[in-house]
Amino acid sequence: MNKVFGREKVIERIWKLLLEHSILFTAERRVGKTTVLNQLIETQKEGYRVIFSDLEKIDSPLEFINDVLNKIAPFVSIEERASGWFFKVWETLEGTEVGGLFKIPDHKEKDWKALLQTAINAICSNTDDKVVFLWDELPYMLQKINEHEIANGSVERSSLKIMDTLRALRQEHSNLRMVFTGSIGLHHVLNTLMNDTYAAESVNDLEKVALLPLNENAAQEMTQFHLTKEGLIAHPETNLVESISYQCDCIPFYIEKLIRRLTVREQKISEALIDQEIAYILTDANDDWELEHFRSRLSTYYKGVIFDTNEREIKKSAIAKAILNYCAVSAEPQSIDACYRAVKSSYSIDDRDMIITLLKNLVKDHYLLRDEQGRYRFCFSLVQRWWLLAEGLTGAEGNNHA
């Protein structure tokens, strides 16, 4: 088992919630979502069957059902597969087995909803265990299915139906659990497929678990571990460990990446070298830390336009960017009104509610954090620093540091 830091509590929480609920697991990229999913599999409790699936490869409802059945198959005994309930289900679905893989024939595609119900019903009815599906990249699957249908001129809206069907199944089976997670926000995908209310309903029974960066102690412990493992310094000096974890915003991916970079440098590790590496990373055109995606995804996440007071169209993404630019240059968190004023200095808008909604979404999408006083600041100082450089902004002290 790989060493995991600082996730014991969230894993414990997930197991507790799974007693009664399914989960919507949200996490910004690189925070360690996959690690947590892997840990759930590793720490599988008795009375649970945890099944992991990366749904990115799925582009039709039938493929989804095939995947479900193939993933459950290893948990089913040979007898059940040969002549028990699994075999009967297979017969009902008219499935075949080729090269060890189960497949439902393509002509059954139009009945996929019934097939999905049949499959899940059978799985849940034939075990006392709680069946937990860890579905990673679910939003991608929904997007792909939708795009396929649009391309084929279909009006099926299968993605919506999948979500509805899964919700109904969750209600029906007390031993069925689902954990939805993905690299892109599920709320964005659902909002694209349906209006806001309907989107919220299909997942309103799920408990939301947000995976945040590590706490300071765990981040430092992780840093110390990796430094020692890479033989960088035998007894990591506290300030170096603190520096690395702080500058990486306690995000595991960045900590590991930074240490990797330091590993192949010929120089002795020092705070100056760490600063130098971070500065290089923030300006490197190769964008190894994938910070550019925070900016480039704005147009995908914040689609649509609003109209200013002169009836001119303004892209929502432009307003979102204006808010982020303002927060980037501010040393202190900013109130709603301050953000509103900042946007109004660039655009002729008169819609405070729209700004509040945008701010909420920016929090959901891990751009910003809201503090107890209802003020907003960048969620990750690293992203803020990058943003200042990428947008050519000057910080509050007149330099490009947050």
């Binding site: 490869k57 990797r260 994938e290």
Partner: protein, 732 residues
């Protein structure tokens, strides 16, 4: 001739692993780490998927071959690891292809453990199912083992997989966690760099750096050692060898393949000659470069050939006119060529200039068209430029300082290794080898601060002070360097030679601080020091001459340098420097006949093989310039003929180029720059070897007049890069 070991410049994976290890340079840490990461992938659940990015010839295959070889030599991995290396001939057009290659390799590696029965089951199935079936079979068969999938040109694999295949593969890797990838690519590709793609963020990407000059030298030296050519190894360690490699690096850049290719035929003589080495290298590489041009679409090939002909950076419009291709098409094709690393562009106002990215490619492809003249002229210039010390900043004094320092520092390990605590000695030697001055300081301080086991404590102390002072100097801590040198000088009972050496070094340090009086004091002390070594006295006299000259005390300077020339038992290097320094002083004293005689004498008396033959050509040119324009024509005619007679026109050309900086730095000379250039043009154009220098001079004059670098675009890239720093004061 030694038996040359076979080292494939194009297929390192065919080279004996031991040879690859012996010649490996630069990336030792990265190699060790990569092996460790692969090991982690095999022994644990953590899969490190590694992608190494580097242009053609940057050593990717060599690196990956070494990783694989090292892994194969680890007995504890063999049961858990299966290495599948997909070659260039394994063309992958889909996920099915990839899975087929993997399973076929598995069966080939171990037919008793693996089978491809699943292929029978997969026949007749839909394509989407086939890959799933084969992957399922692979999973079952490999059990708890991990496949290390090795692939170069990974971008081709991604092109073949396309979006669906990539997503399926990504999902499989994520779910089964039984494959780790070790891959390389010439550049980043959208499959890994585009946010929308499945593999975005999947790989741990490392960009391989090009060789620096030191690394290039080490690579050539390693190959020479392998071929038991100790002469070449020694030559490379010498200052002259370093200069040659610097010249080579300026032209060839940091491309591993070029140096491996060069090493196949390089000898001390050919490297020293330089022109012949470069000509042969270009000749050997021509088929490779021609193949690359042939692989381009026709229009792009035509453009490349035209750019090779045109030499300098050329506007798009001109390229279009010369190739008879529409301007828009040319612009588009140039964009593609730039993206693929064939050309580079420079934007000047609204115009974009393009030129070949690799000077060596340009020169090699042009060899046939112009009998190799451009290559020879450039090679000749670079050979001189990087070896002529007077063209380097603070050349005379600083270089002698650093070489003396280095020799003294290096002597520690020979003299004191038995007596000093070995660990300290090791640290000093390691510090010298890696230019880790902090390490040298720390180790030297240990000796200085406490007596060591055996041996002469005074000698230990003196040497330690010297190496610490050397290190302080390199770190710019001049006051501390002076302190250590002063400590040597004032040590009671310090041997005369050590004192003289320290005085000389301190004088150079004072010179660097602009403290001429203190410098002269130290030099005079050496000169008058009884029993000081002759060589050190000679050096002190020469340095004193230079300093007097800089102060305008030319008569005093003349006396000092004459004393060197008349001194017996002085080294050839010092005598040669003195002989070539004298003419400048006579010119400054307006004793033209004596100056001319002195320079002729220098050429006659000095040995052609000496490093400083000739030297101070720049000083002589400056002195001629200062005579006034009425003298120029005659002196130009004379000096051209003299240098031609002694086959040294390359030095004159290099010095002439360097003289540009004098016109730029001294505003009083600026107005005469054009006349200077025009006269040289008239006098020198009959000499083939001077043509490049004349071209540079003309471009420089225009650049100064126009106050922009556009006129320099007509110069070849490798020459322009030498000239630009000289004009930095006048260009925006």
């Amino acid at each position: 001739m030694h038996d040359m070991q076979h080292i494939s410049a194009y297929t390192p994976s065919n080279t004996d692993p031991e040879i690859l290890e012996k010649i490996f340079v630069q990336r030792h840490k990265l190699l060790a780490k990569t092996v460790a990461w692969c090991e982690e992938s095999i022994l644990t659940d953590k899969k490190n998927n590694l992608l190494f990015i580097g242009p053609r010839g940057s050593g990717k295959t060599h690196f990956i071959s070494m990783v694989v070889n090292r892994l194969r030599n680890k007995p504890d991995l063999q049961e858990k690891m299966i290495i599948i290396w997909l070659g260039e001939d394994d063309v992958i057009t889909s996920l099915v292809d990839l899975t087929l290659f993997i399973i076929e390799r598995l069966v080939k590696i171990d037919p008793d453990s693996f089978n491809k029965d699943c292929l029978e089951q997969a026949r007749g199935q839909k394509t989407e199912m086939v890959a799933d079936i084969i992957l399922h079979s692979i999973t079952e068969q490999i059990g708890m083992r991990t496949i290390l999938l090795v692939k170069e040109n990974m971008s081709d694999v991604f092109s073949g997989l396309k979006d669906t295949g990539q997503k399926k593969l990504r999902a499989y890797l994520q779910e089964k966690n039984n494959i780790a990838i070790l891959a390389s690519s010439q550049k980043l590709f959208s499959g890994v760099s585009s946010r929308d793609e499945a593999f975005f963020g999947f790989f741990d990407i490392h960009h391989l750096k090009v060789l620096k000059t030191e690394d290039a030298k080490q690579l050539i030296s390693n190959i020479a050692a392998l071929n038991q050519d100790q002469r070449l190894v020694d030559f490379l360690a010498s200052p002259q060898g370093c200069y040659r490699v610097r010249a080579l690096h300026h032209l060839a850049g940091g491309n591993h393949r070029l140096y491996v290719e060069l090493s196949a035929f390089l000898t001390t003589e050919s490297l020293d000659d330089f022109v012949s080495a470069l000509t042969k290298l270009a000749d050997n590489l021509t088929p490779y470069f021609q193949e690359r041009v042939r692989s381009l679409p026709p229009q792009q090939g035509k453009i490349v050939q035209k750019l090779c002909e045109l030499q300098g950076a050329t506007p798009v419009k001109t390229i279009a006119e010369e190739t008879f291709i529409g301007e828009r098409s040319v612009a588009k094709q140039l964009g593609d060529l730039a993206r693929n690393g064939y050309v580079i562009s420079h934007k000047r106002g609204k115009q974009s200039y393009y030129e070949m990215a690799e000077p060596l490619m340009r020169l090699a492809l042009e060899v046939k068209n112009s009998q190799g003249q451009p290559l020879k002229l450039v090679a000749s210039l670079l050979r001189t430029w990087f070896s002529d010390e007077e063209l380097q900043k603070n050349a005379e004094k600083f270089n002698s300082l650093s070489s003396d320092y280095r020799k003294a520092a290096l002597s520690i390990d020979k003299e004191l290794l038995v007596s000093i605590n070995n660990k300290i000695a090791e640290q000093i030697v390691l510090g010298i080898d890696t230019n880790d001055y902090e390490r040298i300081i720390a180790a030297s301080s240990e000796i200085i601060n406490g007596p060591q086991t055996d041996g002469d404590p005074l000698i230990q102390r003196v040497n330690a002070l010297y190496s610490r002072g050397y290190s302080y100097h390199h770190l710019g801590k001049i006051e501390l360097a002076l302190q250590d040198l002063t400590a040597i000088i004032t040590l009671p009972d310090v041997p005369v030679d050590q004192k003289a050496k320290a005085l000389l070094s301190r004088s150079v340090t004072y010179d660097g601080k602009g403290e001429a009086e203190l410098e002269l004091q130290d030099l005079t002390t050496i000169i008058t020091l009884q029993d000081a070594p002759v060589e050190l006295k000679a050096k002190a006299l020469l340095n004193r001459s230079i300093t007097y000259n800089q102060k305008g005390e030319t008569e005093q300077a003349l006396q000092s340098v004459m004393a060197v020339i008349d001194m017996p038992n002085v080294s050839k290097d010092t005598i040669t420097k003195a002989l070539f320094y004298l003419p400048e002083l006579y010119f400054k004293l307006l004793q033209i006949d004596k100056a001319q005689l002195a320079l002729k004498t220098a050429f006659e008396k000095a040995e052609k093989s000496n490093e400083y033959y000739p030297s101070n050509t720049g000083g002589v040119l400056l002195a001629i310039n200062q005579l006034g324009s009425s003298f120029w024509q005659k002196q130009m005619t004379w000096i051209l003929a003299l240098y031609a007679d002694y086959d040294a026109l390359d030095h004159l050309g290099a010095a002439l180029i360097y003289s540009i900086s004098c016109f730029v730095e001294d505003e009083s000379l600026a107005s005469s720059f054009k006349k200077w250039q025009q006269l040289w043009q008239e006098q020198a154009e009959q000499y083939q070897e001077m043509l490049l220098a004349l071209q540079v001079l003309q471009a420089a004059v225009l650049a100064v007049e126009q106050k922009n670098d556009k006129p320099l675009m007509s110069l070849p890239k490798e020459v322009r890069e030498l000239v630009l720093p000289l004009l930095v004061k006048v260009l925006p």
